[in-house]
């Protein structure tokens, strides 16, 4: 596993940090999309990680650069746009897929301009969600290479 170092800070020593390979991170109140994704991608090498809170997801997205983040907007209606902004600021290459309700559909552009790669209102058919997540990870997960790499900070 390649190791990188955090930039030196005034408050503490330099901490070695490991980057993990991208995964599908699912943020939802009750397990639904996680179940769908896990059952559909059970045979693949893709890792599906549920997140309990936006903070949890941010931490994981930072450790697993270029991950696909499936975000259920109805679970965190007031926090999701902020979360998308923070994912953009973090420059961890996360690819957020937002799943909203029909009432939240008018906010599609707000979500997209905050970095959402996919936006569905209402939720898409299960197979479409699986296909999209697979597709978004396909270009990132190589079969030949063995090392994870850090995201390119812009």
């Amino acid at each position: 596993m390649p190791m990188t170092t955090e930039p030196a800070s005034d408050t503490g020593p330099v901490v070695p940090r490991a980057w993990l390979a991208p995964a599908i991170l699912v943020l939802e109140r009750a397990p639904r999309f996680e179940t769908v994704l896990k059952s559909a991608l059970a045979d693949s090498r893709r890792l599906i990680r549920p997140c309990r809170s936006p903070g949890d997801l941010l931490a994981l997205a930072d450790r697993m650069p270029a991950s696909v983040c499936v975000l259920d907007w109805s679970g965190w209606p007031t926090e999701l746009l902020g979360l998308l902004d923070r994912l953009q600021v973090a420059q961890c290459g996360a690819r957020p897929v937002v799943i909203a309700t029909s009432e939240l559909a008018p906010l599609e552009w707000a979500a997209r301009e905050a970095g959402a790669v996919g936006f569905f209102a209402p939720a898409p058919p299960d197979q479409e969600l699986v296909t999209l997540c697979e597709r978004l990870l396909d270009h990132l997960i190589g079969t030949a290479s063995t090392a994870a790499v850090a995201p390119q900070k812009q």
Binding site: A21, L47, W109, E113, E128, H139, S145, T146, A147
Partner: protein, 359 residues
């Protein structure tokens, strides 16, 4: 005053004398018909000529610049035919000389008739991607017919302008039927995006989408990743209608947006002719898809007699054009279809990251 000779009398009252007054009266009537036609054509030709000379530099001349050359050519040819028919040879020659300029513009400047040959920039032999851009005229030609046309083309990336199918409920219903159609083409996930009157649909995930500010216009920037992971950036425009406004300042802004955002493809209903000063000199690295890979009648509006090329498709340096075709469907605009291959850049390969389980 001399008295008429018998021979002259014979000429006046004889068969020849019968013809002459008849012929001269016919010439007179001919001139009475031709004079207004000449007056109208003279005015039209002068206005068009002034427009071509001053082009779109000033608002007043820009209105004249939008007089379509095919209309001036056809009017001139009709006048020439009238002159030839009424045996006004000299007038016919003048009409022929006048019509030569607009006709040359139509035949040799605005359109070219042989498809430009190009050497492939890449060894990429993948199936070319297909982009279709169409102003669907608010569905006034019939949505079913619009969908039929789309069915025939089956693009990978679809840009529709003036896509306004009724109230929100009708819109939702229509969008669903469009998405069902996209799925029937084999699109696993139809990625659709709607802004103002612009609809963008893609077979590929939209990795980034942004609305750009441009007065009274819809302007959307979308980033894709094709199946091989090659990033693509599309800029779609729907600029305000009406050719009577001064468009040069707006087109300067459009060029500035293109230069800043560096898209690979720029498409849309510009409502500005391809011959406009700003569109004749697009930002460095960009060219018209028609010039690069198209041929034939390049005008796109108004169907059924398109005489102005106001729908544009510009391509950047990372695009290898394969084919550019214009077609007619259920709208007052012709659709434009570009088949292309993205040129993969080795300098910016798509990031490849291994899975944690690999080792």
């Amino acid at each position: 005053m001399s008295t008429p000779s018998p021979a002259t009398d014979a000429a006046v009252v004889g068969p020849a004398g019968d013809r002459r007054p008849h012929a001269s009266s016919r010439r007179l009537w001919g001139w009475l018909l031709l004079a207004p036609a000449w007056l109208l054509y003279g005015l039209l030709w002068c206005a068009w000529g002034v427009g071509q000379t001053w082009r779109d530099r000033y608002p007043l001349w820009e209105r004249l610049f939008h007089i379509p050359a095919p209309a001036v050519s056809v009017a001139g040819l009709v006048l020439w035919a009238l002159c030839a028919g009424s045996r006004h040879r000299r007038a016919g020659w003048v009409a022929g000389l006048l019509v030569a300029w607009p006709l040359a513009v139509v035949l040799f400047h605005d359109n070219h008739w042989l498809r430009p040959s190009h050497s492939p920039a890449t060894v990429n032999s993948d199936r070319p991607l297909r982009l279709l851009d169409w102003n669907v005229w608010h569905g006034m030609g019939g949505w079913d017919r619009v969908l039929e046309t789309l069915d025939g083309e089956r693009p990978d990336i679809l840009v529709l302008a003036e896509y306004t199918p009724g109230d929100p409920d009708q819109f939702e219903h229509h969008l669903e039927s469009l998405q069902a159609r996209l799925r029937s083409w084999g699109w696993k996930v139809p990625h659709t995006l709607y802004s103002g009157s612009l609809l963008i649909a893609s077979r590929f995930p939209l990795t980034h989408s942004e609305r750009l500010r441009l007065h009274y216009s819809d302007c959307v920037q979308v980033d894709f990743e094709d199946d091989s992971g090659t990033p693509l950036r599309l800029l779609a425009f729907d600029l305000p209608g009406g050719l009577w406004g001064h468009r040069d300042p707006l087109l300067r802004k459009v060029n500035a947006i293109i230069a800043t955002t560096q898209p690979d493809l720029v498409v849309g209903d510009f409502n500005a002719v391809r011959q406009a000063t700003q569109l004749q000199s697009p930002p460095p690295g960009y060219r018209h898809a028609y010039d690069a890979a198209g041929s034939g009648w390049s005008y796109t509006w108004p169907v059924p007699v398109p005489m102005l090329a106001i729908d544009q498709c510009l391509i950047g340096q990372r695009i290898e054009p394969v084919d550019y075709t214009l077609g007619t469907g259920a709208s007052d605009h012709r659709w434009q279809r570009l088949d292309f291959r993205p040129i993969r850049s080795d300098r910016n390969p798509p990031p490849r990251v291994a899975h944690a389980d690999d080792d």
